[in-house]
């Protein structure tokens, strides 16, 4: 209880101070852009971590869900003039539906095969967007109203983290982790593999869609190539860098990688070289990611579940 209050208060302070700094102009528009990108990257990384890190389904198509969300939001706000909050939620739902539709056939596959199938899905979405004139085709979708602000980015980032954390803390989340650990044993203990894989995929896609919506309504302009294979790889890199199967890792990973590339922008010639060297060093010296190791010591839920505390106090263990 006490912990929750501390979390709520610190979130409020973070939000209000962010808002204050933006209003007074201390955070200029360039810094603001990067902060918003960090928020969007956190949403993407945490939602992919649910699919890849926790449920163990390696997906290379996460940017496609982002793209579906971005275009849905663009159509709803720019072409139909609907309020942003409607577009935001609708993008999540449309992406989630796409996640279910693509999940049912592909999630029978495992490992490399699933990665290739999701990669194919990502390309299909990109090519479809490229060839649909209604949404601008290769030229891109212009004049999307800029609705995304600090409040939306902050709230959606917090909501994503909390919802996925809550999900993982439930017995459904435990079933997902069990699927990652051993599919045959999980199935023998009554876990419906298809149901939970598709479910995890749908939740991940939902939040990727939200991230896409925030992205589209911040940059005025989106084009199919922004959500290609390389974007999917970026998200995977963030998850692996931070730590597979660690929510905190995804947050730290998204912030660290964004900050690193922000600082490297001054030396464009060496940017990708240094970026790659950093990734390389992290993988060599911390193969489980920046914070991945800590989460892996059987402490997914430790300190999170009230039931643990009840038993500690009642039975003196």
């Amino acid at each position: 209880m006490k912990k929750n209050i501390i979390i709520i208060i610190s979130l409020l302070i973070a939000y209000l101070s962010g808002q204050y700094l933006i209003n007074t102009g201390i955070i200029d528009s360039y810094l603001q852009l990067n902060i918003f990108l960090i928020g969007i990257n956190i949403i993407l990384a945490v939602s992919l971590n649910l699919i890849t890190g926790f449920t163990g389904q390696f997906s290379l198509g996460h940017a496609a869900f982002m793209s579906i969300g971005a275009y849905t939001s663009a159509i709803l706000t720019a072409k139909m003039g609907l309020p942003f909050i409607v577009a935001l939620i609708a993008s999540g739902i449309v992406s989630a539906i796409a996640g279910v539709l693509i999940g049912i056939p592909t999630l029978r596959l495992k490992g490399d095969y699933l990665a290739i199938a999701t990669l194919g899905f990502g390309e299909i979405v990109r090519i479809l967007a490229l060839n649909t004139d209604y949404i601008g085709g290769a030229i891109g979708f212009n004049d999307i109203p800029q609705y995304t602000n600090w409040t939306y980015v902050f709230i959606m980032t917090v909501v994503t983290v909390l919802v996925i954390r809550y999900f993982l803390n439930s017995f459904h989340g435990r079933a997902c982790i069990a699927i990652r650990e051993d599919e045959i044993a999980a199935e023998a203990m009554g876990v419906n593999l298809t149901l939970y894989k598709v479910f995890a995929f749908a939740i991940g896609a939902f939040f990727a869609g939200i991230a896409g919506s925030l992205y589209a309504n911040y940059f005025y302009f989106i084009k199919p190539d922004s959500f290609g294979f390389m974007k999917s790889v970026d998200i995977v890199v963030t998850v692996v860098f931070g730590g597979m199967g660690s929510i905190l890792g995804s947050i730290v990973g998204a912030i660290a990688l964004s900050v690193i590339s922000l600082f490297l922008q001054n030396i464009p010639e060496l940017r990708m070289v240094i970026y790659s060297i950093i990734l390389f060093l992290v993988m060599v010296y911390r193969p489980t990611g920046l914070v991945g190791k800590k989460d892996k010591e059987g402490k997914y839920f430790k300190g999170l579940r009230k039931e643990d505390f009840q038993h500690v106090s009642a039975k003196g263990n």
Partner: protein
């Protein structure tokens, strides 16, 4: 009362007949042993009984809370019906804590909402206490010693409150002392939870001591069945294990 009836069960993998024309009838509360040389089809039979393989022909019929027919057998539905199992090569959730492994055993009950979240924790602690694993509840399953892993797998299987428990080589890799403890554990489980237990085992001291009836397999065929005494004197069994010369 018969809880499991297998009629003319056959499973072929291409040209290989893994299980041929097997008939079994298992009564409630029995401890049944399945023995036979490696490759005799015992584990295939387990996989058929738990829906992992679909039979080539023949029927499997469970008579538990509801009647379950061959076509209803799906791996993830078995614990819902009341059939739980362990695996020959231990299949724990290695990177999850001991407690979370047992908690996952309650998945089917939580899914049906026949147990509350709080009760699942209470019962998991209870189960761990009975299996002497409570002081290790926060350890990762992969860090447990071998014997503890075996017991944890049984504890997890029991969490789903089965009526039939299938144990695939529970004593594999155990030393005589551990096997003796396992024997007591299996007896205790049967009496405490009123289960029907079917186990595959190569350790004859264990099988002969605890099984009430034994089925012997060889090359996919059921070659003999009966009490341990009958089996020990059965010519076909001796042939299966030691070859023609020995008889």
């Amino acid at each position: 009362m018969s809880v499991l009836k297998v009629t003319n069960l056959t499973k072929n993998f291409g040209g290989i007949k893994a299980v041929t024309d097997v008939n079994l009838n298992i009564e409630m509360g029995e401890i049944i042993g399945l023995i036979g040389p490696n490759g005799a089809g015992k584990t295939t039979l387990f996989n058929l009984l738990t829906g992992i393989y679909v039979p080539t022909s023949g029927q499997i019929e469970y008579n538990l809370n509801t009647k379950v027919k061959t076509k209803d057998l799906k791996p993830h539905k078995m614990v819902h019906y009341g059939v739980s199992r362990t695996f020959q090569n231990i299949r724990l959730f290695k990177d999850m804590s001991v407690l979370d492994n047992v908690l996952l055993g309650f998945h089917s009950l939580l899914f049906k909402r026949s147990i509350s979240r709080k009760d699942s924790f209470d019962e998991a602690y209870e189960l761990l206490k009975k299996f002497n694993l409570l002081n290790k509840k926060d350890e990762l399953a992969k860090n447990l010693p071998y014997g503890d892993q075996r017991r944890l797998e049984i504890a997890r299987a029991l969490a789903s409150k089965p009526m039939i428990l299938l144990l695939d080589e529970p004593a594999a890799g155990m030393n005589p002392k551990e096997t003796k403890e396992l024997k007591d554990l299996i007896f205790w489980i049967r009496n405490e939870y009123h289960l029907t237990i079917i186990l595959i085992e190569h350790d004859m001291s264990l099988v002969m001591n605890i099984c009430e009836r034994i089925f012997v397999f060889d090359y996919g065929n059921l070659v003999a069945s009966g009490t341990p005494k009958e089996i020990q004197n059965n010519k076909r069994v001796i042939t299966a294990y030691l070859g023609e010369e020995a008889v």
